[in-house]
Amino acid sequence: MIEFLDVHASYDGTTPILKGIDLTIEDGEFVAFVGTNGAGKSTAMRLVNGLLKPDRGAVLIDGVPTTQLKTSELARRVGFLFQNPDRQICSSTVRDELLFGFQAVGRLDDEARRRVDQIIEEFRFDGDADPFLLNRGTRQLLALASIVVLAPPVVVLDEPTTGLDFCECVKVMGIISQLHRAGTTVIMVCHDMEVVADFAERVVVMTDGRVVDQGPTFDVLRNRKTLDEADLVPPQMVDVSLLLPVMEPRFAGTSVATANTLAEMQAAIEDVAAGGAAAMAASEKDALDDVPFQGSERKER
């Protein structure tokens, strides 16, 4: 469990970036942080893995303040994916990059080497390749793999899909989704509201160093007023669902007014068009079925 208790933070001790954050993230949750550039999202992430310590208040990891945990202990508990993989990759081969984390925490043994070989096979990497000659999407996957290989209980991802094309984005989110299903706590900063809608269970909205809203994903994404204030736009299907009943009274009270995903909206519209009074109940959210995010399944060996 991760707890933010009245956290104030700055980089220079004088200019406040976080201005009193209270927040709890339970084990196994998938939480997305949204907000404009400069809202304090990345700073909040740095506090989770102890790169930054609070000026006031405390960040607790499993009940222990980050100020009392050694860097190696923090690294074991919280894996961190930087926004730019090039700030993370530091070795001259893919294999060394994956071994680096084990080396850093003093666990460079045969078990670590076996685990790295396994990850190289799963991600279909070339272990001898030079990471800096890989394309952007593959470097991002390598950075992600270097965290996955250590199997931390918590992963923090700062904009994992930035700069990726659609297929690469699908691949990266597929792996993250897999981690989450296997029980890993996922904390993600993301500007792409479609990705947030597809994957997150809970959304935290930040503006100017404060949390202005948080709750189950679609409760937050359907709160137009707060999103407007935070200069955010809801995902397109939520936007349609909020606008249509206002524009055309026939849609009010139908499942169009509650549809969140593409599949739900299509079914709801077809239902209204067919004149069906018993509007189909919004189907259970199934992000992977809804839009084309179909990551590959990791195989058990």
Partner: protein, 279 residues
């Protein structure tokens, strides 16, 4: 006007062409968007427009690229760089100065722009991107969105007839991304500048461009007005281009016989169309 004719280019160290038999004409003043999967040749295409290909990369170049009638193979990079302004994907690698004003002056002074024109050009470009108040700021102290605007303004000050941008909003939030596109589009319309932008955010492209080009494995798969191109949402998905979801929704309803109107590229047009479906 940009005219690309039968362009094929293969980097010397590569074993296959990255651009193959590409022909495309972009009229003066057009706002063109290029989208495609990683490795499809988008960035190389921008290098072919600003002359980096063939002037700086060794390889095999066939066909021709003409900018306002000037063949890029026969025109020096110095001359080309005054016609085609480029904004790099990684803007931090583009900055040469510490302060915004110095960055703005760098290009103008190096191209020998007459002294009495410099101040006017700097001010105009800063105002076009809405950052006149940042003039004396340290670039390192700016946010990602502000830096992006400085990078674009420093190129606008050169008054190129063609502006080429490679993923200018990759690191920006949705509001800042839209803002950058709106400012660019406004400037280009007022000055008749041709804009070519490589971008992964298809919703932005479909809102602002009048020519959308989809590149697949070095070839042009689709080129046309966004509503023409986005009509092929299922095929686009197969080649790794995801349409805005309201477009996919309307295309699916159209396929099911529920909708027969034009392709919807944004939420307001989809909502208007859906009201007709219900009527």
């Amino acid at each position: 006007m940009i005219e690309i004719e039968d362009l094929t280019f293969q980097y010397r160290e590569s074993d296959a062409p990255v651009i193959e038999d590409m022909s495309l004409s972009i009229p003066s003043g057009a706002f063109a968007g290029i989208i495609g999967a990683a490795g499809s040749g988008k960035s190389t295409l921008t290098y072919a427009l600003n002359g980096i290909v063939p002037h700086c990369y060794p390889g095999d170049f066939y066909g021709s690229v003409r900018i306002d009638g000037n063949d890029t193979c026969d025109t020096t990079l110095t001359d080309l760089s005054q016609m085609v302004g480029s904004v790099c994907q990684d803007i931090d690698s583009q900055f040469v100065s510490a302060v915004v004003e110095d960055e703005m002056l760098y290009g103008l002074e190096n191209y020998g722009v007459p002294h009495d024109q410099i101040e006017g050009r700097v001010q105009e470009a800063l105002e076009a991107m809405g950052i006149a108040d940042l003039r004396q700021r340290l670039i390192a102290s700016l946010s990602g969105g502000q830096k992006q605007k400085v990078a674009i303004a420093s190129i606008l000050a050169m008054r190129p007839s063609v502006l080429v941008l490679d993923e200018p909003t990759a690191e920006l939030d949705p509001a800042s991304s839209r803002n950058v596109f709106a400012l660019l589009s406004h400037y280009a319309e007022a000055h008749g500048t041709t804009v070519v932008v490589v971008e992964q955010k298809i919703a932005l492209l479909s809102e602002f461009t009048d020519l959308l080009v989809v590149v697949e494995a070095g070839r042009i798969r689709f080129a046309g007005a966004p509503e023409e191109v986005l009509a092929h949402s299922e095929e686009l998905l197969e080649i790794g281009v995801n349409c805005p979801r309201c477009t996919t929704l309307m295309n699916r309803l159209a396929a099911g016989g529920l909708y027969a109107g034009p392709v919807c590229t944004d939420v307001p047009s989809a909502c208007r169309a859906l009201c007709e479906v219900a009527a």
